[in-house]
Symmetry: C2
Subunit: 358 residues, 2 copies
Amino acid sequence: MARLQNDVFLRALRREPTPYTPIWLMRQAGRYLPEYNATRARAGSFLALCKSPAAATEVTLQPLARYRLDAAILFSDILTVPDAMGLGLRFAEGEGPRFERTTADEASIARLAAPDPNVELAYVMDAVREIRRALAGRVPLIGFAGSPFTLACYMVEGGGSADFRTVKRLLYARPDLAHRLLAVNARAVADYLNAQVAAGAQAVMLFDTWGGTLAHDAYLEFSLAYVRRVLASLAPAPDGTRVPSIVFTKGGGPWLEAIAASGCDAVGLDWTASLAAARRRVGDRVALQGNLDPLVLLAAPDVVHREAERVLADYGSGPGHVFNLGHGIVPQTPPEHVAALVETVRAASPRYHRDPGA
Amino acid sequence: MARLQNDVFLRALRREPTPYTPIWLMRQAGRYLPEYNATRARAGSFLALCKSPAAATEVTLQPLARYRLDAAILFSDILTVPDAMGLGLRFAEGEGPRFERTTADEASIARLAAPDPNVELAYVMDAVREIRRALAGRVPLIGFAGSPFTLACYMVEGGGSADFRTVKRLLYARPDLAHRLLAVNARAVADYLNAQVAAGAQAVMLFDTWGGTLAHDAYLEFSLAYVRRVLASLAPAPDGTRVPSIVFTKGGGPWLEAIAASGCDAVGLDWTASLAAARRRVGDRVALQGNLDPLVLLAAPDVVHREAERVLADYGSGPGHVFNLGHGIVPQTPPEHVAALVETVRAASPRYHRDPGA
């Protein structure tokens, strides 16, 4: 493997000093980029894009050709894991994901087993290896997975939902079944992330997209407990070093301290959180990632500039900040506004990293 | 007006001692009740129901005939206010609300004016008076309105939205226009609530359904500032007493201290918040209302019982708790589960209110 030339992102995750605030963006490879849409059209569908290591490599690298980003993230989808469990993932055009089979009763949950990521998800590991080769050490590669609870949401509902009422009814009415499902998911997610790391991922991120829809106690019992289990199962990199991990929970503000104590290295925050307030709450236990409102990117470049400066100032001085959006880039985003954001962060952030003794 | 026989709810809002924890439920008059569906079918549509004082009175009282609730809430919709501004509200069957005209540019915002609630919204004031007569002092009547920002969301988008990107673009790109729109809304909402109080509402509630989708600073500037302005404009009741106010912000956890300092008497919390943690944060400045996950009501009565007990224990001993859901009752709720909830709270809550010196 080529030597890593830019480790600013990895150092920020470890809360080590960096010359500037590193930046990458959730969904940085995506529909706002014309070159992404061209590759996707050639691949035939979103799922075909995920399942082709060559195409996934191509789109993973596209934003790096345009912007001075400090990390790449594997192009894939969190639902590849339940798909590999045999649930039959489909993306209907213009709709969200749907599973052919749901996992909502005793019999279907009893049948579930964690897939072998090097068999059923070999195409992802091939993509990780191919992306690492294509990156040639320019920036680190982030691997990722959905959280056990977030995967369970889709598995039980059979797709997205406005209020996740079927999975919530399962949690409340049959906690025993819910725990069995979540335990399988935690095993599957840990195996999947460890396989990504073995294939070359240099950091990992858990997306708990729907944990924040749970009631206070239910979140701790059904989501965070399994996030913790996954984190505790993470193996070191092939060279023996610890692989830093990021946990992103949309709407996770109420549980910030608990998430910070889950065993992760960094907490991703959505745009509703104040980074300053979050920093006061977690102290120096973890790095923080975020958290510009992705819809700021719809406004003019001078607004993007002003709001990005505000996020940097909100975090303040010192190490441990990874700049990101508070959620994924929306497809309507003009690509030149993303350029304005990346350049603003690169130009404006060094003053938050000057050694006060220098 | 008949003398009020049950003031437990009003006393809890003022943090005065009560013999038990009062309970009412957001959307307690609604589609989960067969008698509501019958009245609505007779009225012809949801909007016709809102605009008929007799039908609105009928459905407002329906849940009180079934359950020992401690408050009634005016049956209406937050969008009657922009409708009265001339935007043309429509509810298509099976869809959400739509406005015929949006309010997204300089010209349409300049044209906006606060309606006279006793003229354009006279049907609401008629309903308030008729409900007060029909209640005959059994329990207090809550009046309500949408927050200035939440109304702006619908006015700018023309209806609901997954991410409110049009209104957010307006806030970020043209804050001057957004502030003009919000100032008109704040005037309209204050006038509307004051007219409800003059007509007989004994408490008022502001629903900030979408404020919680804003970024940290944007929430303070575009939502809470106008909630504060409305609260500061509230007049006393016809008898000169202060009318207690409740502010409910879905996803408002990050700003709890600021909301508690806005001038309201109580803060409504959604189900993601821990009441114990919220109580530690706000001290004795305000009462707290909430916050059972409404989807608990889809599970069996014994689960409803267990989870309601958990909410009571989470708040703990002492005055200042109004039991409620963390959001509205969903239409799929079995009415007998609501009975289980109301009876549990009535039976289990007195032990949290015993005078420790007795």
